[in-house]
Subunit: 378 residues, 4 copies
């Protein structure tokens, strides 16, 4: 696409830095909060939950583009103040949607990022204005925008002078009625092939129903997204808008707890819970212990298979064991783990491996020649 | 949906068993092969690759529903024989698409599963026929079928007497031109809420371009899919159909190698490489060892943070350590790992944890009151 | 499109002849009847209405492709007999949908045309079968088929040996919820540029609601469609399927009455009512008389405007009048109207024209120079 | 839809008056002009063509919302002046698109109507602004807006105080690639059932190709649209934007010439050519004469059929003839046609009718009993 002069992928991917938060790097960035800011206490509660979950950015709408003129249109500046205050208190950044010159001017010096919504993706005058601010812009894909149009909308912002654009896929309009929109998870890959800009996913507007948020969030990260923008409300049933697609605080935290594993599976990371309470850290340790033991169990299973493949040749194994320990000790040092620990526990692990192999071999022989076994057991 | 009498989710999810392969259980099932069967050697090579990657099912089309009457229509029975032969040789199951009574009758006793393609999803006569066979049916979602229509198509098969239906999402038709279709990854979650049937994903037809297959496959698994149906061709550039969306053998194997981690991150598993050679098993062990040591390192890091939160209260810890060991020993037994191993290595792990905490505490104190340290070190 | 070897537009458009009915010529062909054949009496009543409206073809489904296996699946052969009988009695042709080999074989010798439905548009085996019959095929566009795919589906039938294919646009699947499907009226023009085959429209399935049928039917004809396939039921409220989109007999007849004018406006014709009762013919004459008098009035208005443009130069007019009469007498002969009639009435028409001009001129002068008038009237 | 407080259809349809032009009444309003204003001469030529065709409103974009920031963005105020000047010279109204506060304020006092484009349909701030002007607003439907969303966007304008909104359907985004968008012709009927606002159609953006404009324009009128907004350029091949979908002046005029008939067929009218030159008026008279004679011929044909139905009972006919003349004389008076003319020519028409019937009767008898004829002719 020749017109992606600035948005096009030339050499390396952009990492967008915002006050210590890096979007587009190894870390998956979680953003959360209610659709609309409703009160100070609502934002305080939301911020607490986002923080607890390991989120970095608090969201909340104050100038709401609503389909009907008679729907709640947002609290305006009052709402911004609630959000900014809450974000500050919990050490979070914050983002809100702007819809025209006036709203942009009102909030640009108060919030950390600006959002341009799906309905304004081709509001070119607003894009140009956003391009003249010094705040990062989260640019949502239009309801039925092609990926090319979306990137060209980003180009409007970039070419007006603002290099910090974060693309946000939020579902496209299709015929399928069971979801509010259809999450176009392919858009992550396509946008990243065409552009160096980070891509995040808003599963809430895509699905329009909270029961799918967990599934879609994990899919997004596995597909390569750089972050998630998720609607969460202290009390979804009483939300003034988008209640049915908002997670409860508990669901939000549970989801966040599961994201780390998915991030890791695609060589990214997500730090659940900057919550460093004794309780939180202990439950993290429990999770890690569980995965260590699962690892040990998997190792043992493979070792068992090995006994089908080879004689139990101790000499050969001895060399390999030595080599393994050497390798793992180096790794331990890299990872800031005392290498001694590896040196102490791996021989024990090997020992149990051997026992397992022997046991497995005997059972196998029995299966192959049951008579032999019965004789032998006499 | 009242008409999902048999397909609806009542109590538990279905696990579909086909000759030792379970679809819908903990294991992610990988199916692969060329769009169209072209020759014996092509199928042999394909089967070898699928096997090597840990795939369980070989695919290949022999009765091809082609948009134009002048496109290659498939090898018919000759092709089936090539595929069946190759699958047998490599210990794989095989699946092919049927398009009418005749093709169904020709292949039903030869292949292990039957596929009904997107274009025939509402060919109700074919569905009824498929419902009278004793072979599992992979039912692709129609190009623009709603999820409800898809499940009702499954209901046709079920109500005709065949309980083994596997749903396959393969992308839906939207306005977006950068992909052949748009993968509806939400369909996994929606279908699983409505129905007990397993759901797999075909990322190849969804994307129509091979560069997105890896991203979409991982997204599918993270979203909860039970398997993947991926087009792979020994030589995609010379494929008679769907070359641009077919992976090369190398890409297929590389992808498979990465699936295990993603599966694990959502409490599923995928065994890369049923390749049980000494070499293969050893490199698996190396991977597992690496993750065990990474786990130990992560544990150590959290333990370090703990020292910021609490006094080093050994008594309290002793209780917790005991409890941890107890819990992990139970887990070990569940996982068929000698519980003794846990009992032996965890005290060592704890010991290094304590040392780490003490070291961390001292460093922290130095930071907080450097003078004290310098005094102390005198 | 290179693969449209037989369907492509080379030289002239196809007119498909079926027992005296020509589809694709000047005449707009109306087809109507219930979604599903339910009883003998229902088909008798339907046939009477279709005939009365000027329809040529009776439709009725007997093998119904239904989304749910538990919906009414059609009366089968019993239904065909009801329809064939009714069509015969009222001098109509009839058409029904076939869904597989069996249903095709059962009805091919009984009905005059076969229909292949939207869900089977890419059931290529059925297309090939249809291509081997000697009956014209109404080929509906698939729910989300591109026009190219639709024409290639027609090519399957043509290339199998059957040259008589009638394309039928019936709405495509989009995100818009207020209609069951979205009528793609552009498809008429596009298909006719690419192919020589006739194109008809099914507004009933497109709209899914009867209140839009009239609007869409007229749009279809104005856009260049060759015919209409409309669902009508003697008692829509009790229809076993598609009641809400079926016209009542009265609505069907009223619509038909209005189609002639629209057809004429695009140089086509539709003969409402083969009902040749004294009463019917007289009300037709009344309509024609009305339009003649409206024509005369319009003529008079233009003549009035002429008086603003030119002096009342009788000599010049005399030549023009002669020429006009000559021209219209030739036209009359072509149209099988006694030329003498024109010769007798046109001088009278001219005479009144002159009088009108004079009157108009005087009024105009008054307006331009009121004083002159008041003087003149003294 | 409860929120259509002002846009909803309560009692009667709105007719929007703009300086003598009524949109939403019996007359079909034609609007035309280039996509973008390029020069003074281009607008002069365009205005001349629109006028000649019977168009009432000149269009031209000066603030262009373009997908890429590097595409031509419009001439701004310079362009407005060219358009306003040209419109004035040819007695046309003019309309241009506004995209934000600034552009709206610049043009609101210069042009006669304002347009809000598809991309800004949900730019709610712009809608509110437009609602505070005193100019009629042409509100285009968004690329993938539902009809409900479109009407609610209109409600924003109405509720802000501006009652004059004209809805404009311009095609929606679907999967079909052969047209730029898919004209949703059903939207005319649906919008008119829900709302009292006039609905016009923009076939140019819908089709994206000029060869379909004629077909779609006629379809639009037949479907009930109140007007057409068509792109026309003096030299499409050199247009800076949308050349391929712009009609040439000749095509525009030819199309306009054909619209009257279609309008009439649905009880509307369109006055081709406010061109009141002698030549133009005479060719209009020729058209009318042609249709009068065609009417007479059709009358004669029906009369011939009548002779099959009844005895040539003069007495009965005499009464009917009297009654017909009475009725038509009343009609004539309504239509400002001298009733005397009807009184003079209808007896002649009747006379020829009788002769035709007699002739027809004789021929029929001959057919029924040829022998009788041969005797008779001896």
């Amino acid at each position: 696409m020749k017109d992606l002069k600035l948005a096009g992928l030339d050499s390396e991917r952009s990492i967008i830095e915002v006050d210590g938060v890096s979007i587009g790097g190894k870390e998956i960035i979680l953003m959360g909060g209610p659709c609309a800011v409703e009160s100070s206490i609502q934002m305080q509660e939301s911020a607490a939950v986002v923080k607890k979950a390991g989120g970095k950015i608090l969201r909340g709408g104050v100038f709401k583009p609503r389909t009907s003129p008679y729907s709640f249109q947002g609290l305006g500046m009052e709402g911004v103040n609630y959000m900014v205050q809450a974000a500050k208190e919990y050490g979070l950044l914050c983002v809100t949607e702007v819809v025209d010159t006036r709203s942009l001017e009102l909030v640009v010096d108060k919030v950390d990022l600006l959002q341009i919504g799906a309905r304004n993706m081709q509001n070119f005058e607003l894009l140009k204005l956003a391009g003249k601010t010094n705040k990062p812009i989260i640019l949502k894909r239009g309801l039925s925008a092609t990926i090319e149009e979306w990137l060209l909308a980003a180009e409007y912002i970039l070419s007006a002078g603002n290099p910090r654009v974060i693309l946000c896929e939020r579902g496209i309009r299709t015929y399928e009625p069971s979801t509010r929109n259809t999450l176009d998870v392919s858009a992550v890959g396509v946008a990243k092939e065409l552009s160096h800009l980070p891509v995040i996913i808003d599963p809430s507007h895509a699905a329009g129903r909270r029961d799918l948020i967990s599934s879609l969030s994990k899919a997004a990260i596995a597909a390569g997204a750089d972050g998630l923008l998720i609607e969460m409300h202290p009390n979804p049933d009483e939300a003034v808008s988008d209640g049915p697609q908002s997670l409860t605080p508990e669901q939000f935290i549970n989801l966040a707890q599961e994201l780390g594993m998915v991030a890791q599976s695609v060589q990214r990371f997500f730090d659940f819970g900057t919550d460093d309470s004794l309780e939180a850290l202990r439950s993290k340790i429990d999770l890690v212990d569980r995965s260590i033991v699962e690892g040990l169990a998997e190792r043992m299973q493979i070792v068992r298979k090995l006994s089908d493949q080879k004689r139990l040749d101790r000499v050969k194994d001895a060399n390999r064991e030595k080599e393994i320990i050497q390798r793992l000790m180096s790794l331990a040092e890299e990872l800031d783990l005392p290498a001694e620990l590896v040196k102490k526990i791996y021989p024990i692990i090997f020992e149990y491996g051997i026992q397992t192999q022997i046991k497995s071999k005997i059972e196998q022989d029995k299966r192959l020649d049951p008579s032999c076994y019965y004789f032998g057991s006499k």
